[in-house]
Symmetry: C2
Subunit: 104 residues, 2 copies
DNA sequence: AACTCATATCGTCATTTCGTGAAATCGTGT
DNA sequence: ACACGATTTCACGAAATGACGATATGAGTT
């Protein structure tokens, strides 16, 4: 075996954490996230309307946030509802803190 | 006054947190950060050499990480030493968590 | 003051990201 | 099967980012 107990800290953030950071490192996507405060559930169209952006733009931002582990999606009939993924967000923050603990 | 006690959570991450995220949302800069594990102190030239990148590139990455609150710099004679800024990193993580708490 | 070393800044180019409209896809109802 | 409404995917130009070499600045030495 390579390592016995707990790895001190990965040499670089894993893919999942890296995508989490990239997803959040955008003012536009940060604004998207605030729409989901309080556990609200919004469709792609609603997000597009509230932020006054194109629907395809909203779809792509939401997809990236979902890929980054910040949102989950649920399909009801034709409309797709997005919602903040509390669990994965917490996990990502923990991994981020673990990585940074290894750096200072 | 506008708000009395504690703001529940800013509508969008403040400038400082946004810069923190942008600084960290880059594989190259993540690799830079791991060099500072264990509190090591490195000069610009050492960083450039260890990562096999140009000197000006290293200088710019370090500047951006410093701007994002991840590093501090200290000048000794001609050489500038960078080091992880444990305190500001912790503060940034706390602000990030506070912002995300407002989103889920 | 002239010289040298380490770092920072500038100008440039290649790559990536962002936002948009057009077209394709998916799920539903007729 | 067809049509529809909502979303996703695609292709494109515009803007931001990343890396480099060349040049400028800062600090110390002779």
């Amino acid at each position: 075996m390579a390592t016995a107990t707990t790895d001190p800290a990965p040499p670089v953030p894993d893919e999942t954490t890296a995508r989490f950071l990239k997803a959040l490192a955008s003012g536009a996507r940060q604004q998207v996230m605030v729409l989901f405060a309080g556990g609200s559930e919004l469709s792609v169209g609603e997000v597009a309307e509230r932020l006054a952006i194109g629907q395809s733009t909203a779809s792509q931002q939401l997809a990236q946030l979902k890929d980054g582990g910040l949102l989950t999606s649920r399909r009801e009939a034709k409309v797709v509802y997005y919602r903040a993924d509390k669990e994965r967000i917490g996990a990502a923050l923990d991994r981020l803190r673990a990585f940074l603990d290894g750096c200072c």
